[in-house]
Amino acid sequence: MITRIFTLLIIVAVIGAILYGRRLIKTEKNDAVFGNPERAKGGTHWVIVGSCFLMFSWLYYSWDIAKSLYPDSANELCQVAKVNESLLSLKYLFPIEERQHKSTAIIKRENINIKKYIVEIQNSPDLENQDKEIFISLLNKTQLMIPTLTEEKYLETDIKHVINGLTNRIKQLTVSFPKDSYPPALSEEEENKRIEALKKQKGWGATGMEVPPLPETKTGLKFHKAAEELNSISDEFFEIRNHNTEYLRHSQEIFAEIKEYKNGLDDDQELEKTYIKEIKKLVRRIDYASIFPPNALDEMEESIRDFDVVQKEEQGAIRIKDVLLFPGGTIVNSGPTCAEDGPGRWLPKPSDTFRIFGELLRPSVGFKMIPMIWYEMMDVSKIVGFFLPDWIADILPGKYPVHNSAGKVEPNFKSKVLDIVTGEFKAFKIPVPTGHIWDSFLRVFLGLSLGIIFGIPLGIFMGLNRFAKGFFDPLVELYRPVPPLAWAPLIITVFGIDNVGKVFLLFMVSFSIMIISARAGASGTQLSKIHAAHSLGASRWQILRHVIFPNSLPEILTGIRVAVGMCWGTLVAAEFLAGTTGIGFVENVARKYMQYEVIWITIFVMGMLGLLFDITLRKIINKTIPWHGKG
């Protein structure tokens, strides 16, 4: 319902915006010159059209419009797919969708094989003449056996009856299928069972199931039943073989000869064994194939063609829906598996996506028992214990308490301090953020901050001092060109799959970028500014602090912007590799379980966070270095 309203709104918005745009073009004066950049300004209405176009494409190509307009269509198409699949195995025997009869194709192929073997055996230098004779006679006999299958007169009456029976069943189906009375009513017990099973069936697009396979509508039931009938017909047909007495005489003789020859072979006669095996395989293939005389199945072929025409007519509106509302693929292609073959599979429907996104955001659900972003109450003692190093207690004078003879430990000042620095005390609780998104954010933030804190001073130092540049250059230049992800397996092994490894990896990424940008900023300071500061009486430290540092700020901030992008990309990939939380982890798990909705949600969240970082930094840059590019 929401999807329908939304689709309508989109169409209205697009039409409205286009009309507004046309009116604007009419009222605007024509430019005397082409290419006036002013003409590219404004145009919010075109932004609306663009966004709506994107949204509409999403709705249409994810088959969400089909789902909202005709919720039953997928289920019905699935039943049609079943009929198609069942028909296909029968059609396959005849030149309906193939070029020739199945029998013709087999005979043609095996005749070629027989000829090929004969030539090969005759030309073989390793076979003895008497073996060659036996092989060739066997192959000739096999060739002579084929006419016993294709001769009309050998076809036995029993088999004729079975074929006729099956043909009649198809004809019967063709007649009754279009009628309203088809399928015949089930017994009450069976009907109840069917309804019970239907109730358990989940809807289209529900988790774990793409299209519900059991028929839900009357039309669906019709196709479902027809498919069952066709399946039973083809099963029965493929059981029958044209093994008449004349054929059996030939084949048994050939098999007996093969067996006799094989028994006479020594173990080391590998070549002979191979050939006799190949010949036996060839005979078996003909034995298994359903080869019938040329015209024996003509009536059956006709009946199948008739039924195909009728069932296609009966599809009616379903076919039109399939063509119009299922772009880029169809459910029919998937056969009886009832899957979405096309963008409907990998492009999640907006309705499902938003529902699942809403569910993921609920802190009690989250993903893998961890919320996406939420808060948890944390005791202040834990935070204090995390930040205060334990050695504070160790360096205090005195000794830690020893237990007394009463078996008790009396705390003293030193042990009390230890309790505080290790966080083993009770205090009030404060809310701290938690969840996948927060974890990813925190890792980027920490890695980046460390990189900035260590990278900028070292970079400036390297920009000003020959020793520092020479000493640290090899180190930085050796590790920087390596793609950060190439370090990931090593770093994760050394520092663990949890936060430390990832933060260190991100530190490595941002550190080198910050060094390079700070160095470029520092070494790019105009000499005249330093001279000016010198003659104004500034000390070395003051020049560093008040001239060189602010002068390198543009480069440093650009470096931070680059580093944020790199860190974000590296983090997601690192979370793919290992870990138990984080937005990249969520995507990787979703990939394993083919939860396309979750994959797209994570992609979206990452995009939004990346955009947020960049916008924030752009704002900071505009605020802190307004002079940049204006000097």
Partner: protein
């Protein structure tokens, strides 16, 4: 008593290829307190090198240079410098630029602010105190540079083509300003320029330098600066005396340039 004294100043640069360039050769001169010296010469004659040595940014290869008897061996507050492009700190406002020197010395902020106000008044930038310097025009930036240098009360002011990058109109105004400041403060000033007119107008003393090796080619004592203190600069430019001096120096420099070009071709 002489104020700035230079004796047999030599400056030899060595290029990475091993060639030596004699930038300055045996420069000896002395400047009394309150004198205004302009230095003129074709490009490459060592004007800027001389100024950098006086400022203490460069150390001479040989010879000595002293200010009130003290050897110059590094940059210092007593020698203020004004650069061609201003070399302002564009991340600071006009006020912050002007009080930079005092802030670095941790002077009292209230007296500093008062001084800044006074100096902005003198250079004609009243009310521009909170403007970011990157928003100022070239002439205004040069005024800030002057104020920034003068607020430190230096004994010697070194100006490296301070008006070179300005348009003709602004330039004329700034020339009057330089004279006004010279008169009001009585500072010793060395001004380097490549404009003959400017050198004649502003210089109480004028050195024409010659290149390869850089040396003082000719010395002039000029009356125009004193005239310009009260009179109209444009009238002075039309005086017969001025015109003939200008032609003389122009020919001199032209000959030097031709000599170099001839050598090079």
């Amino acid at each position: 008593m002489s104020d700035l004294v230079s004796k047999n100043l030599n400056m030899i640069f060595e290029s990475p290829k091993g060639e030596t360039v004699h930038a300055l050769k045996d420069i000896s001169f002395s400047l009394k307190k309150g004198e205004l010296l302009t230095v003129l010469g074709p490009s490459g004659c060592g004007k800027t090198t001389l100024l950098n040595i006086a400022a203490g940014f460069l150390r001479p290869t040989s010879g000595s240079i002293t200010l009130t008897g003290k050897e110059i061996d590094g940059p210092g507050v007593e020698r203020g410098m004004v650069f061609q492009q201003g070399a302002l700190f564009e991340w600071l406002t006009v006020n912050e630029n002007v009080n930079f020197g005092l802030r670095m010395k941790n002077e009292d902020p209230i007296t500093t602010a008062k001084k800044v106000g006074e100096w902005l008044d003198i250079v004609g930038l009243k009310g521009f105190g909170d403007t970011p310097t990157y928003q100022l025009s070239g002439g205004m930036q040069q005024r800030v540079a002057l104020a920034r240098c003068l607020i430190n009360d230096p004994d010697l002011i070194l100006m490296d083509e301070p008006l070179g990058a300005l348009d003709a109109l602004t330039r004329e105004k700034m020339q009057s300003l330089v004279l006004k400041i010279w008169k009001e403060t009585g500072k010793t000033i060395i001004l380097i320029t490549h404009s003959v007119e400017e050198a004649l107008l502003l210089g109480e003393k004028l050195y024409v330098m010659a290149p390869r090796p850089g040396r003082i080619h000719k010395e002039y004592k000029l009356p125009f600066a004193l005239m310009g203190l009260d009179g109209d600069l444009r009238e002075i430019k039309d005086k017969k005396d001025f015109v003939s001096k200008r032609e003389e120096i122009l020919t001199m420099i032209w000959d030097m340039e031709e000599e170099i070009m001839g050598k090079e071709i």
